[in-house]
Amino acid sequence: MSEAFPRGRTAIVATATHAIGEAPGLAAMDLLAQASIKALAKVGMTPADVDGLFAQLPVDFVSGLSVSEYMGIQPRITDNNRTGGSAFQTYVIAAALALDAGLCDVALIAYGSTQRSAPGMAPGKPDPFEGAYKARYPMSAYALAASRHMHDYGTTRDQLAEVAVAARQWANLNPEAYARGPLSIDDVLAARMVCDPLSLRDCCLVTDGAAAIVMTRADRAKDLCARPAYVLGGAAATSHNRIAAMPDLTTTSAVESGKRAFAQAGYAPSDMDVLQLYDAFTINPILFLEDLGYCAKGEGGAFVSGGRIAPGGALPVNTNGGGLSCVHPGMYGLFALAEASDQLMGVAGERQVAGVDLSLAHGNGMLLSSQATIILGSQATL
């Protein structure tokens, strides 16, 4: 049976980011609330208008409840699904279904983190089967994937560095980005090695930050927003949790999430005007470009070379500067969605891509474990 996603029947009508960089003295919840209030204000709403809450904080396993309490929301639908950084893409899917079914009227998707100012995750019990190897998560897992991609396909460190350099060039067009300034391929190669083959500049930032997006049904969206970002498709796929259980370290389940999301939307990869691909590490966009169908498996390194995904290149990718140069407060998925929406709404300032009608935001969770793809379109695509 084909998937009956409510194509174009809901839309993102507002986005906000907040405190990208450093926010000393504030809690993750404070940042989440500020981003949420900012986003809601753009469409003339307050927290009291929200009746569908999809929210997450880094170390709060009942964030659906604590966020409701803090902001004074009595949601009819609450979701704090945790699939890692892709969770926010899964919230868009759940929110679209809930809005379309009338189970809620205004959905708020929100996240906040103080990973830079007040780092720390909840200490878990050591894994009885892997704890002894003292793997540095998540870097070591992505390094293992990069090592295998290089072995199988001849991908080079220069090609990985192309991804970091493109992200920095986009960040230089984004006043909110945390890491700005010149960055060359040689700078990336010469940076301190973290986990071979990844250097410090192959790894995402560690920042504070918050983001929020507001979704409504399409009929209402037109009155709230000049150019709503209609949700045309959304699909998620899971392949593993531990990196040792990933069937093939060079192929992610974005193959499946992408195929299903494109089928729902009725568009092909080549129809997208701009892509946001969760870039926790430089290997990620290479894997996702392959897995979402932009090039053949193994050709991602060559594909990103020569500035193809940088400003002025043929395919704009991670136009806010990404997790590598804009913001990465523990999880980045919602920032990818905010940027994908802003590009479609035409409010991305100096980094705005011209004539965006189709925009993709791909989320990655944990150790390449969870993949989720959202396709957004303008009124013209409905």
Binding site: F129, K134, S140, H151, R192, M193, A244, L249
Partner: protein, 124 residues
Amino acid sequence: MHDMIKPAEDYLRFLGEGRFMIQRALESGRYVFYPRVAEPRTGGALEWIEASGLGTVYATTVQRSKPPAPDTNVVLVDLDEGPRMMSRVDGIAPHEVTIGMRVRARIVSEDGDPFVVFVPEAPA
């Protein structure tokens, strides 16, 4: 017998006795690692079986440390029985570990419970 499996407890006890044990599904014959109470997908019963200890490096990284702390190696090893596991290759420098290298398991104990590392398998 199989409904008595206590995955982590049994696994660590076997290692303490000097045996690297993995699991095999009674019905399908497929091998399973890490240890569980039932086979993935089928939910079928599992039994413990001693691993051959032979495997091939599938992926490798060197985790760099600030001197004087040493760099460390983390690998994924494909066991000859099929399953893939995380481990470490000892006996050579971390950066000398290569994908495709044949390795043999060895049980070691450092600060706590015993665990499995691998050493390069001498060519026959």
